[in-house]
């Protein structure tokens, strides 16, 4: 494997000049630079990462630690993120080191990887309010970026969608259609995104002075099964008067709700409106549901580039405040939402 010195010898130049030529420093003659590049190409030069790392103190590696849940509900999303992330990192010549969390304490794998001293920073996902991992990394002053936020007032780099607006936009649409009894099938309560959507939902409903009975807010994994099992008693009216609209945290949950509605002989959207948040995963297309699903849409894939870039910029010293991306999910109205049923047998409240 050719080194900088080899190129220097071949061209009668010092390694310093060769290094500068290849790294685009201004103080090298254009002609020389061209010769150096040609020679590097010809000799098949590849910088030695270890040498670079030794002198720069950076490894070009970022870590990600997976907390694999038995229900494997996150698989689809995981692959989606992984694909985009590795591509975005490769664009900036960085790579991803992956480990699986097999400990009880969520911070253990982080301290272990930090001790092993091989990554420049971390990508965290699925933050929870008061997330211990974030506290740890902040204390150790190790660069990281979060997919999501542990708290709306996050002071670290992140990419997140406006989870407060997600249910609000849905409620706005539904109330405009005359709905007053609206249920929320949210994600698991310990995740920050779900907590934020709970708040957004409550806020929106109180804006319209609509009550939210306890039975109308559920938490669970983002699975079809959860949607089905929770919707069934709800739509059967076993939890009080049945909702005329259901807001789902994912399209899979909505699929479960649609199945439950079908089993109950309820028509969508005539009897019940369904709206979901859509991560735009490649193999669950809300548009192809029957009826086509009304959604708040924010493609998961969009998160990848900002996550990679924010982290790498942070590692290069950019201030956290410049590395915070908040996007608004797009409301897309399709066939699964319609006017509230006219025959209101159960006045509300």
């Amino acid at each position: 494997m050719a080194t900088l010195k080899d190129i220097g010898i071949a061209l009668g130049l010092s390694p310093a000049t060769v290094s500068r030529a290849l790294n685009g420093f201004p103080e090298v003659n254009a002609e020389t630079r061209a010769k150096v590049k040609e020679a590097a190409d010809r000799l098949g030069y590849r910088p030695n990462r270890a040498a670079q790392r030794l002198v720069t103190g950076k490894s070009g590696l970022v870590g990600m630690i997976l907390d694999i849940q038995p229900d494997m509900s996150a698989d689809q999303t995981f692959f989606e993120i992984l694909t985009g992330l590795t591509a975005a990192l490769a664009n900036r010549d960085a790579d991803l080191v992956l480990t699986v969390d097999q400990f009880d304490d969520p911070t253990t794998p982080y301290t272990r990887m930090i001790d092993r001293n091989l990554v420049d920073g971390f990508i965290l996902n699925a933050p929870m309010p008061g997330d211990e991992r974030i506290a740890l990394l902040q204390e150790l002053e190790i660069p990281f970026v979060v997919h999501g936020r542990s708290d709306p007032a996050a002071d670290y780099p992140y990419y997140d969608i406006d989870n407060h607006a997600v249910p609000r936009d849905s409620v706005d649409l539904l109330t405009a259609l005359g709905h007053r009894r609206i249920a929320l099938l949210n994600g698991e309560a310990h995740f920050a995104f779900a907590a934020e959507r709970d708040i957004g939902f409550q806020d929106a409903m109180s804006t319209y002075e609509l009550p939210v009975p306890e039975a109308f807010v559920a938490h669970g994994a983002l699975t079809e099964n959860y949607g089905y099992t929770v919707a069934l008693p709800m739509l059967a009216g076993r939890l009080g008067p049945r909702p005329t609209a259901v807001i789902c945290a994912s399209t899979l949950i909505a699929a479960g709700v649609l199945r439950a509605a079908q089993d109950m002989d309820l028509r969508v959207p005539e009897d019940i409106s369904v709206i979901a948040h859509d991560d735009a995963l490649p193999h669950t297309r809300a548009r192809h549901f029957n009826p086509a699903l009304t959604v708040t849409r924010a493609a998961l894939r969009d998160a990848c580039k900002p996550l990679a870039n924010h982290l790498l910029d942070r590692i290069s010293g950019a201030p956290a405040s410049d590395l915070q991306t908040l996007v608004r999910a797009e409301l897309i109205v399709r066939g699964s939402t319609g006017p509230a049923p006219l025959t209101e047998k159960d006045p509300w409240p």
Copy 2:
């Protein structure tokens, strides 16, 4: 961060001695070694990976490139492997760099990662006969280990199960129970493991002088849906006389077959026997099927340690012939297999 020199200064020793003391070389005084270890501990010494790598020429990183298929059938197995693999690598102080293949040519991501010059070797999975990736790595003399074999006569490090024996053991059991019309719902035909099982199945059947009509061997993804859709016409007798036993390439496929049998009002095992190969994934327990599933069992998790160790040994220079593990799946007879039905309305052939 403390360095070897720091420890040397603190103890009045040279960095060379400190290095030897910590790395267990024999030529250092036991007393000195103890002092060095104590000091290293006290100063929180962590070897600088880049420096180690620069001088040893090894990175301590191994690469894995995922070819993510849209059907996402491999998810469960992927997480299982990932979990065990990262643990086994961590045991030997190595780490995993993961990338997703986003190219048409399967070798492209390998050449790219090789050019980026950061891993010591690769872990390959899902080999195909005449696998291009294997040819590339062999040509470049880059260490690798394969989960599976592209060919029974593989001359590289691997961990595999005896895929020839898998259907043979099943056929042995079924013929002993009197079955003569046996179908095979195999994996996708382009994978080496499926090809090998095809051969094992044909060989076993011809041992018993039993014919194998074309319609009795199917290939597809290891999904419940595939099992169901293929079994349905088979069990309906639409593809000729229906089989009395079905061998499935995975427990998920078997789940589909069981559902198809139920839909056709066929009892298992009275009307039809079902046997599957079982990867022993944590959340699909063959034992808890109804009826409990007869399987050839080889826990996927068992592959992880040998894979990691074979690769790391190969990187350290061990010969490939010492790094080949072949295991035999264990036949576990449960309730889904029984004597062939007595009333043979359709003599065979």
